[in-house]
Symmetry: C2
Amino acid sequence: MNTDHFPSRLLEQAVDEFAKLPGIGKKTALRLVLHLLKQEHKEVERFTGAINTLKKEIKHCKVCRNISDTDTCNICSSPSRNLRIVCVVENIKDVMSIENTQQFNGGYHVLGGIISPMDGIGPSDLEINSLVERVERGEVDEVILALSTTMEGDTTNFFIYKKLKGTDVKISTLARGVSIGDELEYTDEVTLGRSIVNRLNFEDSIKQL
Amino acid sequence: MNTDHFPSRLLEQAVDEFAKLPGIGKKTALRLVLHLLKQEHKEVERFTGAINTLKKEIKHCKVCRNISDTDTCNICSSPSRNLRIVCVVENIKDVMSIENTQQFNGGYHVLGGIISPMDGIGPSDLEINSLVERVERGEVDEVILALSTTMEGDTTNFFIYKKLKGTDVKISTLARGVSIGDELEYTDEVTLGRSIVNRLNFEDSIKQL
């Protein structure tokens, strides 16, 4: 859409700001801004206020580096969780995904990214040292590496593995295999191959259903 | 996504506010908020500031009711436009669509909606009286009704037509016909029928190419 035809500079500025968000084009941005424009003043202030407050007051948990309203996050300060098992993830969304499974009762460590030379992200940009320190302080029995199964994820896994090899912490990783609900015909060869090599005891597997 | 697993109440509030926008679900809202969270303070303030300023300072043009930064909008204060021809549209987006064609050099009148009893929108909720007043003050030679070709649009067209019948203003409407680029085979019968009845002189039509 040609920006020359905006009836208002203020409208155009707001649309431009919205269009900077990922996946939001000019047309969608215009629709969202016109929607906000129709709302009451109070509603619009609640919208912008929630974003400003989040940006100003959000903290990173001093233990696991997840975002948090408090110095130590809800998970790291929960007495009912086994914080000696630490799941290492790339970002906040991954914590939320694993929490949504309701299958994990340990703690987390949020790296804030993965090693990606293409994007200029090296180990020092990530929360790897703070993870190693947690292990060295003897706070951790098991580290579960739960990164993406990409080259970057594998590189990061290996880097962390090397850093922790000297300690007596147990290092595990997520099971790889055929997704539940997937048809074998459409599963890629590498996944299928690994799922045969790492096959499960059938009796164990049906207990999980 | 289960909201119980948000690591932060502040994050959850910001996501909830974003998810109130049309077409934005919880997952998209989370993606957008986490994107904003990664930006500099200044960037986030520019985003929320643009929206707040728009909401606080935007005006409606006292002539055509389009949104504007000034009391009279750019179009209504332009000396190069023939403001005696007024195109009646439903909303701001329609003005922008017609402006983008660069085929119209008249003025507008923005109704702010169309008559829709199902949504509880009657003639008094729209800027119809202000249109009639413009005509009665003798400011308008021709009114072009450019509303949607829906039942609501037709109802609104007819309501305005009845209101203006007593005056000597010329009332026209957008041409209906086969869209440019459309295949005849896929054009609906009503449109096709109307396009035969209102057929154009071929020589006139090729001049427009």
